[in-house]
Amino acid sequence: MSSTTIDGTAPDHGAPHEEVDYIRAKKGIKSWLFTVDHKRIGLMYLAAVSLFFLFAGVLAIIVRLELLTPMMDFLADGDAPEAAAKARDVYNQVFTLHGAAMVFLFIIPSIPATLGNFFLPLMVGAKDVAFPKLNLASFYIYVIGACFLLYAILTTGLDTGWTFYTPYSIETGTAVMASTMGAFILGFSSILTGLNFIVTIHKMRAPGMTWTRMPLFLWAIYSTSVIQILATPVLAITLLLLFFERAFGVGIFDPAMGGDPVLYQHFFWFYSHPAVYIMILPGFGVISEIICVHSKKHIFGYKAIALSSLAIAIISFLVWGHHMFVSGQSEFAGVLFSFLTFAVAVPTAIKVFSWIATLYGGAITFNTPMMYGLIFLFTFTIGGLTGLFLGALTVDVHLHDSYFVVAHFHYVMMGGTVIAFLGALHHWWPKMFGKMYNEKAGILGSLLVFVGFNLTFFPQFMLGSRGMPRRYASYDAEFEGLHALSTYGSWILALGLTWTAVYLIASFWTGKKAAANPWGAASLEWATQSPPIEHNFHETPHVDADPYNFKEIDRSQAAAGHH
């Protein structure tokens, strides 16, 4: 493939210049806090987002416990009416913080900031990102933004929903200012990381790595970065306006002063719909890598997958109004946005078909990363198909703001992004830490997550179509059975995720040493030792083939022109 040897065997034995890896290269807490090494920054992000995932996950469990029964009980102190009213306030804060923390602190930075940071330079064959100091600055901006959100939580909390809809967000007594400031600051971290990645991909690819020889993960991260740079400033402006509205009463969203609360929704979704793709595109990239490497097959339809990411990035800016079919926007706008929404479904469908076609004729290993790859195809396909119901105008009028929507976006965000993130962690764990995790434990974990996830969220589709509104702390007795199922599912899901954290962390002490290329992959990150040396490569790698050129591929068949 290239002048760097990637042949599936560990280069440790007799490797003349085996060097100390990036983890052991420098010692002491300062060497981490002031590092400009993209790999260390990636790990710091990993620690941070994992912590917030745990935090927001615990909030989700609290939400599910309250919803186990129709009346207020878990959060209520006794069954007096005043206790129920108080408990509803607490519930509103818990679901708001679950959403805000998951979106702003976990999902948006999850794959790009952790694995993107760690692997993007390795995969292009560079020593680091284009602007290493800016990269560290992005991390600290993220930390500062997170502190603002934590401040909000520790003081008066937040009860607006993660969407901060006006005019409620203007008049509520909770910490809207601190939270919007936090999200505003987090946006800068996102913008700067995106900028760094775009420049790195444009300017720092190894000799011979043409655009079409880039691993699809990089195309996905590239498309994500484009959205981050173009859309995040709109969120920043929106949140700033909301901040001014509260602080100085400028009257842009407040109807009492002649403002328009629906204008806020336009601004908000102009960012937040593209942001959905900031969250899911990196997941698409991960799945392309996992499916190819663990089936030893060349990706099916490389160009279609790469270009569909860009197509999604562009069309994603034109569909925000589908969040507002019942908001009072004009019927014409509704029709237009519905049409564009179906347009964005096509490139997404192409990706799913291509991944399944990639499995054809492969040599498929059922290890943990592949399990997550297959689970992704299952859950994400449900997430994508249920989007069709919500894009259809009349059906959305019924399903809008119901549990059907809750189930749909969890199938996309958790069944898509989080499943892909888990798959990616297992796929690249040996490279990041130089340790193998216990494979049997991994398979068990993936099955628990699969069962728990579907049991938690599938009943919510039925709840929604049968008439259960979202963001309700208590509900009609007829919905109890499905809510109870969902809550039981959340326990299995929590068990699966906890189990996963345990065996992954245990691998630091008990795991076998990982070879440089344990999966026999063909992209550049596997060409260096595990864990990589501080500067990634001893010599600049040279690329003369594409990243899915596995040695198992039957070239005699290709030569015969057999397709």
Binding site: A85, G173, D260, S338, A363, T394, R466, Y475, E552, I553
Partner: protein
């Protein structure tokens, strides 16, 4: 636990089958048929695609599982024919879904001239439903005739709400600065739930109500009855009825219970501590200010959550409510037991 759960689920299924479908609530408006038809069409398409894709995935995964180290893999990289087909077929199907939804959506928005006008006003946390032509106003209850077109004009006095009637498959946000609305024709008599579907704060989850569809005879009887009738300012319970009509009871207990706002029994003539620490004696003027400009002085320990009633109450109504609070007296239970 498992058995009782299965019982519940089974009960749910049987109930749903009797009144609606497996997925959908009962169909009670002329739109329900079309919405459910499109829902079923997308559902069937989804199931066909999902089952087909998963079957292929499992088949490939099993057939091409790695059995030995030397296993060779197919060099297949792309196929224009296949890629064209799987782009074109979904595009056509998606266009059908779009067109279907679009057609019915336009119909949904074409209101017949003869429709009965009903005014729906959302406020934290209740619905006020007025019938200008009948002189009636109901709280959290929408009463409509079977088979007659009804047009709702929806608005809000404070934050966003959304008026959802699942049995009619209809929903529209209530805005504070603009009228929205929809129309429908009920096709089934009965009693159906209605919900607030746009998050609006503390009691969002209990901002619910009922829709009653009455046949012609029952409708006539209802119109003639004094249910939801205009209030008589000379009646002894005028203030009490206003208190319910304007949703005051959603946040203010008259039995000493602490809800979102302070309980109102036994406060008249007594001193209250305000947020800034000052003491105010609750008299007619304080009550007037508290109703018309609620955020001017907030009772200590409560959030400024009340909407203004400036411009919504006539002086006669304002006096009625103040008289009612006055006569709640000081003999009931203390505010914070």
């Amino acid at each position: 636990m498992t058995l009782s759960l299965l019982g519940k689920l089974g009960g749910g299924l049987v109930l749903a089958e009797a009144q609606g479908g497996f997925w959908m609530p009962p169909k009670a408006s002329t739109f329900a048929e079309g919405v459910d038809g499109l829902f079923d069409f997308i559902l069937i398409l989804s199931i066909v695609f999902f089952v087909g894709l998963m079957a292929l995935m499992v088949y490939f995964a099993v057939k091409y599982r790695r059995t030995h180290v030397e296993q060779k893999t197919s060099p297949l990289k792309h196929s224009f024919k296949l890629e064209f087909l799987w782009s074109a077929i979904p595009t056509v199907l998606l266009l059908v879904i779009f067109a279907w939804g679009q057609r019915d959506f336009i119909l949904m928005n074409a209101v017949p001239d003869s429709a009965l006008d009903v005014r729906v006003t959302g406020q934290k946390w209740s619905w006020s439903i007025g019938y200008p032509s009948l002189g009636k106003e109901c709280q959290n209850k929408l009463v409509v005739p079977l088979g007659e077109p009804v047009k709702l004009t929806i608005s809000s006095v404070d934050v966003l709400h959304s008026f959802w009637i699942p049995a009619f498959r209809l929903k529209r946000d209530a805005l504070p600065n603009k009228y929205t609305g929809y129309w429908f024709e009920a096709t089934q008599t009965g009693d159906f739930p209605l919900y607030c579907a746009e998050y609006c704060g503390t009691d969002h989850s209990v901002m619910t109500g009922r829709v009653q569809v009455l046949d012609a005879e029952a409708w006539k009887a209802w119109v003639a009855s004094d249910d939801c009738a205009g209030l008589d300012p000379t009646a002894a319970d005028y203030g009490e009825k206003l208190f319910v009509k304007y949703g005051c009871n959603a946040c203010h207990s008259v039995e000493g219970v602490r809800l979102v706002g302070p309980p109102l029994n036994g406060i008249y003539g007594k001193p209250e501590t305000m947020q800034d620490g000052s003491q105010v004696t609750v008299d007619d003027n304080y009550l007037r200010e508290a109703i018309l400009d609620p955020n001017a002085s907030i009772v200590q320990g409560f959030a400024p959550a009340m909407p203004t009633f400036q411009g919504r109450l006539t002086d006669q109504e304002l006096n009625g409510i103040i008289d009612y609070i006055k006569q709640l007296g000081g003999d009931a239970a203390p505010a914070n037991p």
